[in-house]
């Protein structure tokens, strides 16, 4: 299986203070990779570096065999890297439909407002409504009127409208009821199997993440301390006690 994402020696941080220290990571296409670790391990920073929100100081990120260099976030979205950031990032003043349309607006270009691209975008939004029926019922409501679970659905749906090949998900279970978490995880697994979507899943809910992941990466203080098959990581008692807390 070919690797969709290859990260080598990635160092990144904020205001000159490094948070990540030489991260190496390979994620095969069509798989889910869980990124685990305690608070402050650098999981969110890793996703931010991969989606171009912060500039790596050293290292190499390759997506589908091509070096990403210093591409800006919006260019990476066009390449097929979607990011659902921590806190969901729903645009509060826009309606559910406008939020979803925004996720794929880049596909329209500046001239394709009424063309086939717009029809395609409408179809993708309709598919998101099929995946998340509660959003269809609230399509005219502004983002700030949604519940936590609905916001998570909207953030995920908006990323999917952008037709990503790699989805970076930051703590999708944060603040959600266990039933909703289970549904979200099941949906991710289903998307991977049906559309060959690749997911890099940052999660504090270790059991949930490892239950759907193909492989896992455990981080501590900005370094990868363990990596491998998700089931093997879950069965490693020493690793669980030292880094995963269960």
């Amino acid at each position: 299986m070919s690797d969709l994402l290859e990260v080598e020696g990635l160092t990144a941080g904020y205001h000159g203070v490094p948070v990540l220290h030489g991260i190496d990571l390979r994620v095969p296409a069509g798989t889910i990779c869980a990124v685990l670790g305690a608070n402050g391990a650098g999981k969110t920073t890793l996703l931010r570096a991969l989606s171009g929100l912060i500039r790596p100081s050293t290292g190499r990120i390759a997506f589908d065999g091509a070096d990403l260099g210093d591409l800006a976030t919006e260019r990476l979205v066009r390449r097929g890297i979607g990011h659902v950031p921590e806190g969901r990032g729903v645009i509060a003043e826009l309606t559910v439909e406008e939020n979803l349309m925004l996720g794929g607006a880049w596909r329209l270009g500046w001239a394709g407002v009424w063309g086939a691209a717009r029809a395609g975008l409408r179809r993708d939004v309709a598919e998101v409504y099929q995946l998340f029926p509660p959003l269809a019922a609230r399509r005219r409501q502004p983002g700030h009127q949604l519940s936590g679970g609905e916001r998570q659905m909207l953030a995920l749906g908006r990323a999917l409208v952008g037709r990503p090949r790699l989805l970076l998900l930051d703590e999708p279970s944060l603040g959600l009821a266990p039933r909703v978490v289970a549904q979200t995880m099941a949906l991710l697994r289903q998307l991977c199997e049906q559309t060959r979507l690749t997911v890099l899943l940052v999660e504090q809910n270790v059991r949930s993440a490892l239950s759907i992941a193909d492989q896992g990466v455990v981080m501590s203080l900005g370094r990868v301390v363990a990596a491998g098959d998700a089931r093997r990581l879950a069965d490693d008692a020493d690793l669980r006690h030292a880094y995963l807390g269960f």
């Binding site: 929100l53 406008e98 996720g103 794929g104 607006a105 407002v113």
Partner: protein, 376 residues
Amino acid sequence: MTGWLHSCRRTSVPTLARHLIGVAVAAVALLGLTYVLDPFHDYQLATAAAYLCAAAGLTVLIGQNGQLSLGHGALMAVGAYTLAMVQNQFGDHGVIAQWTVVVSLAAGVVTATLAGTVIGLAAARLRGPYLAGLTLVVAIALPAVTTVFSGVFHGDQGMSVFLPPVPDQLGVDFPMERWQAWLAVAAALLTLLALANLVRGRFGRSMRAIRDNEVAASVAGIPVARVQVVAFVVSAACAGLGGGMFAVLAQSVSPDAFTLTLSLNLLLAVVVGGSGSLAGAVWGSLLLVLLRYWADQLTGGLALSAGLRTRLAGNLPLAVFGLLLIVVMMAAPGGVQGLLSRAGRWVGGRLIRRPSHRAEVPAPDAEPPAPVVSHS
């Protein structure tokens, strides 16, 4: 009126068509108004319309995109000086025609757009107080350029603007002020039409997304820096048009007309009217003109010494405006437009509720309602 607009939205009348209808109705109404008003009030209307061009652009920048500019007065100066120089060139070459004003205004918009591009490129990297600081420097420094290059801009005394007379077809008695009001109202309505379409469209949604959550907008694929720059440039173009209209109205330009006070007045108009709302920009621009007038009337009616009256005449309108700002911010953070919208919703709610409330009250000779049968 509001109900009609809502029904238009429900029947999916295209946005552009709705805005065109709105502008056409406003144009006819204002045209009629200019015949009702005396020349002085026509001139006030023209001044408010010129303010509106700049305030509308600024309210989109601040309220829709979240970029604060304290330098739009300077961008108005760019538009005004360009109009003056181009118009005077036409005059020097003996070209006397109405179209020259349109060409000069367009030139003013172009130069303000260029200046806005330069400032916007720098502004896209700045946020909050840093952006305000940069634009404040522009507001102070740019008018001073006229003094440094006094050979071109004629320093503090400024220059007069050559303008063609009122078209002959309108008659010999047609007041110049009414003609100026027509020009300014046309410029303001065109500005509102363009901005309304921009705000309602994809670009508007991108601007609001960036304002609300820059990270979310970025990961949705919106080119944040480009949208920020374009928003600034659009706003600068509107300021250039407003400045050009100022020059047409005053028939002269000088640095005194484009000080920091003008930039702050525009900001006040935006905030008092309702930040982000084009209708709010209309209220704010009208208040800018009317408050000064009312305050002048007030000070004129008071039994004050000549010295005190002279001192008050300049400062009282500003003090009244400042007080109004405080009152509006306390009573209605959404500005005048926010207050009107709330009032409209309250009245609308009562009108809708009242008939249904009446329907629940049985007429004296009516049968009592059948008991509700529960199936549970």
